[in-house]
């Protein structure tokens, strides 16, 4: 089942040709089709109206082409990020993406949900890493966009358009990504911040001191707030940045900075991932970075009170905040979410998206909230790619 909706049929194509054949056959009989990769984000979005066919990509796991000297790789959608990283590591390269559950999550699923982790600070999201795509459209037609070179402006940018489209425009069959070299050194540092205001002050200081962290994570309890900073690169650069971070923290907070990834230390990335996957109801709040000091009072505090237990993690340089936990009874949570959305909207169009919710709650809330004024264009896009509304119907924004 996907979000309490029964699945009539599960198909597991072994090749891309087979996948296209399945899509054609389901089109002929008007069946709805939803897609599933590693199943790590099945709770994302609204409940689908129906799932006649669930197409699993678990057998589409080939590395189609890997050219280390060009730093480009093409893979089938069912390959997990973890497996891809292992292949790339042998050539001292990586896909610069670190979403939660990367051992299970597939590239196709990550593309569909726009999955990302703290490395977004430096490397952006999948839209900044994808350079080519092939999709199987609703009618079974295979279409490509982009290519296998990193610089390319020939035609409309289908690869980026598919990022975050939640399986509503087509089956992502293969994708081509630009890669980055593995760093010679990477170091996580913990900074003793006390509040989100401190976190923001720290981020601002990193910028003004011209430091270039690959990631910044803040774990925010109601009363405490720990910040972790990742530096990557060659040894000389990482060391000098670590030293400057110590100066900055001393000047700002009189506080300590400690290396945390040494033996026996804290695994900051694992802590953050733990918070991002915690609980059965999870929210993502997107704000401009400068809004972060107001976040606790305006949005987080009311939300916290609607959870029996929750964890909050921020990527403060980006302006992404994740809240996950076990909510109190439904009414209270629904009104807290509505309150948070209103507060967010009042503060310059910030967004609160439900990343995951238990079925009873889903019926009462919309995962995405208010529609943007560009929605008519989105609806026309859906109409063109999927005129009979058979691909993951109802799951995306505004019932698309």
């Amino acid at each position: 089942m996907i979000a309490d909706v029964p699945i009539r049929e599960i198909v597991v194509p072994a090749t891309l040709d087979e996948a296209a054949e399945i899509m054609r056959a389901r089109a002929a009989r008007g069946a709805s089709v939803s897609f599933m990769g590693g199943g790590t984000d099945l709770g994302y979005g609204n409940s689908p109206e129906r799932v006649d066919t669930l197409l699993k990509t678990e057998k589409l796991t080939r590395v189609v082409e890997y050219a280390p000297s060009d730093q480009v790789v093409t893979v089938e959608a069912g390959l997990t990020l973890g497996a891809l990283q292992k292949t790339l590591a042998a050539e001292n390269q990586r896909l610069a993406l670190d979403p939660p559950r990367s051992e299970l999550a597939t590239l196709g699923g990550l593309l569909a949900t726009n999955g990302y982790g703290p490395l977004r600070t430096r490397f952006g999201t999948l839209r900044d890493l994808i350079v080519g795509i092939s999709i199987v459209r609703a009618d079974g037609t295979v279409a490509r966009g982009g290519g296998k070179v990193v610089k390319n402006v020939a035609g409309f940018d289908l690869p980026k358009l598919m990022v975050g489209s939640l399986g509503t425009l087509g089956l992502i069959a293969t994708a081509t990504f630009r890669l980055h070299p593995m760093s010679e050194r990477r170091e996580w540092h913990a900074v003793a911040t006390r509040s989100l205001r401190d976190v923001r002050t720290l981020c601002r200081a990193l910028l003004d001191r011209r430091l270039e962290p690959s990631a910044v994570i803040a774990l925010a309890d109601a009363n405490a707030c720990a910040t972790y900073v990742l530096f990557e690169g060659f040894g000389a650069g990482v060391e000098s940045q670590g030293a400057k971070l110590r100066e900055v923290a001393r000047d700002l907070f009189g506080g300590n900075v400690s290396r945390v990834d040494a033996r026996g230390g804290v695994d900051a990335a694992a802590l953050a991932e733990g918070a991002r996957t915690y609980g059965n109801v999870r929210l993502r709040i997107s704000t401009p970075p400068a809004f972060i000091p107001s976040l606790e009072h305006d949005i987080l505090a009311p939300l916290r009170s609607a959870y029996r237990e929750c964890r909050v993690v921020l990527y403060p340089t980006i302006g992404a905040t994740f809240v996950g936990g076990f909510p109190r009874e439904g009414d209270r949570f629904v009104s807290a979410l509505e309150g948070a959305r209103a507060a967010a909207e009042a503060a310059r169009g910030n967004l609160v998206v439900v990343e995951c919710a238990e079925p009873s709650l889903r019926e009462r809330i919309d995962a995405f909230g208010a529609l943007p004024d560009s929605f008519p264009i989105m609806r026309r896009l859906k109409e063109r790619f999927d005129p009979n509304r058979r691909l993951n119907p109802g799951r995306f924004l505004g019932g698309l």
Binding site: A67, S69, D70, Q71, V72, N92, N114, G124, D128, I135, A143, R144, G147, K148, V149, K151, N152, V153, A154, G155, D157, L158, K160, L161, G164, S165, P181, M182, S183, R210, L211, G233, A236, G237, S240, Q241, S286, T287, P288, P289, A290, G319, A320, L351, L371, P372, D373, S374, F375, M378, R380, L381, R384, P387, R389, P393, F396, G398, G399, L400
Partner: protein
């Protein structure tokens, strides 16, 4: 042949009422300026050029165009090299050059809100004193505009590390073909729904008219190290590029110039580069000081190990700027060594640079042309310049054919027909060689979602005229759409 019927005279009168008659150009002599963009070989005289000053004026112009059924060609600074702003006969050109204000600088969130006519370099100039810059830096940056950059997804030398325009625009105010004003994207980290910004940036004027954009600005790196290295031939220079990348370095830029390009640059700008070399590389590495210095030292070693004849580093910022000025004036410099030249823009996998350069050299020799190469080696974006003499009958056409053949070489090596100049009018014919019918149909879906009336920039990008009328079947709306909860946001 321009049609001036009673109807078009009415249309012109209405347009003039919106933008003011001084901003509504119909005089044939004045229209000549707008007959082409940077692709000067092809010219079309439009019916009228309007120069609106506000989003509302643009919307008003679009509504009139719709009513009279007149196609619209948006135009930025007119520096594009693929004919993206080439007018359509009996159509309207909307020039955005009067909308050139910087509306907001937000250092806290690293954003700037701009009108489309702001010149690329003026964005950085406005914030440089505070230690910030706007990353995309096309060679034409002192004259090209942000609106045009968005339409073309402009790159530049430094996009190797920092990405293209598409990686640096958060949101945009767009006038649609219905004359509606729509916000696309989000000032927040994530927008909801489809990534319409992905479709908008690089759409070459086919989906709407950007009247405001929020772009990302960056902190100027603590340190930038530049090195200039010369090599016996492009083979050694190509090996040096591969070596730098293989060492795990992500340079901000790696530019290559071959012998003929160096000659033209030296003659034109007077830089003191040696003429008795086969190729030169100009490399920028940047970042925190210790990192930049370390990687620069490594790059120098790699250049020497790859057979560099000489490696120079600039003594000061002035000398560094001079080196880059040499590189950025390369196209213009060709005038010193040839009466005419045809700029090509193709992409190949970086590892095949040496191979492809040799194929191009062989092709040009066979066809009796000289070819100069100056290009973004780090991302395999070639700019072969086919030199010819337009006074010799047939040579211009022959040079164009040779340039087309170069694109086919790029495609055979798994590359692309354009890395940054766009498809426009110039390369529409080659799209069918690069993409299948299904690929192009999917791209047309995107265009039609934005512009169901197909009034924006018709005849560009797609190899054959495409309409938006046909649909595979009746759309089945969702319950919330029927109840009008959805779709009114």
């Amino acid at each position: 042949m321009i049609l001036r019927t009673a109807e078009t005279v009415d249309a012109q009168r209405e347009l003039a009422a919106i933008v003011g008659s001084e901003n509504c150009i119909v005089d044939p002599a004045e229209l000549r300026v707008y007959e082409c963009d940077g692709l000067t070989g092809t010219r079309v005289r439009p019916l009228v050029v309007v120069l609106p000053a506000t989003t509302e004026e643009v919307a008003g112009v679009v509504k009139i165009a719709r009513r009279y059924g007149l196609p619209i060609v948006p135009r930025g600074a007119g520096t594009g090299l693929s004919g993206g702003a080439l007018p359509v006969e009996n159509g309207i050109v909307i020039g955005l050059s009067r909308m050139h204000r910087i509306l907001e600088i937000d250092f806290e969130n690293l954003r700037m809100r701009l009108q489309p006519g702001v010149i690329n370099l003026d964005v950085t100039k406005a914030i440089a004193a505070h230690g910030y810059y706007y990353a995309p830096d096309p060679s034409s940056q002192s004259v090209c505009s942000i609106g045009g950059n968005i339409a073309e997804n402009s790159g530049g030398a430094h996009c190797l590390k920092y990405g293209f325009t598409t990686n640096h625009v958060y949101s945009a105010t767009v006038v649609t073909s219905d004359g509606d004003v729509v916000e696309i994207g989000s000032p927040c980290s994530d927008a909801v729904g489809y990534d319409l910004m992905a479709a908008l940036v690089g759409s070459e004027g086919l989906v709407g008219i950007v009247t405001e954009a929020v772009v990302r600005i960056l902190r100027t790196p603590e340190k930038t190290c530049t090195l200039f290295a010369t090599f016996p031939s492009t083979d050694e220079a190509g090996n040096c590029v591969s070596g730098i990348v293989a060492a795990g370095i992500v340079p901000a830029a790696i530019e290559m110039m071959d012998k003929l390009a160096i000659e033209a640059i030296v003659k034109s700008t007077g830089v003191d580069w040696p003429l008795d070399v086969g190729a030169a590389l100009l490399v920028d590495v940047d970042g925190v000081e210790a990192e930049a210095e370390h990687t620069a030292a490594q790059a120098v070693e790699i250049a020497r190990a790859s057979g560099a004849l000489e490696v120079r580093t600039p003594r000061d910022e002035r000398e560094r700027q001079l080196m880059w000025k040499g590189r950025k004036s390369a196209f213009a410099a060709m005038g010193r060594i040839s009466p005419n030249y045809y700029v090509q823009d193709g992409v190949i996998p970086r590892s095949e640079i040496s191979l492809v350069l040799r194929e191009i050299a062989d092709l040009c020799a066979r066809e009796g042309f000289r070819v100069a190469n100056v290009f973004h080696a780090g991302d395999g974006n070639l700019h072969p310049l086919v030199l010819y003499d337009g006074r010799i009958p047939g040579q211009a056409h022959h040079a164009e054919e040779v340039a087309a053949e170069i694109l086919r070489i790029c495609l055979r090596h798994g590359g692309s027909i354009t890395g940054e100049h766009g498809v426009g009018a110039d390369k529409a014919a080659y799209m069918g060689e690069a993409f299948s019918e299904a690929d192009l149909e999917s791209m047309n879906f995107v265009r039609c979602a934005f512009d169901p009336h197909a009034i924006f920039n018709p005849g560009k990008v797609f190899p054959t005229p495409r309409l938006c009328g046909d649909r595979a079947g009746a759309y089945v709306p969702h319950a919330t759409e029927i109840s009008e909860q959805a779709g009114r946001g």
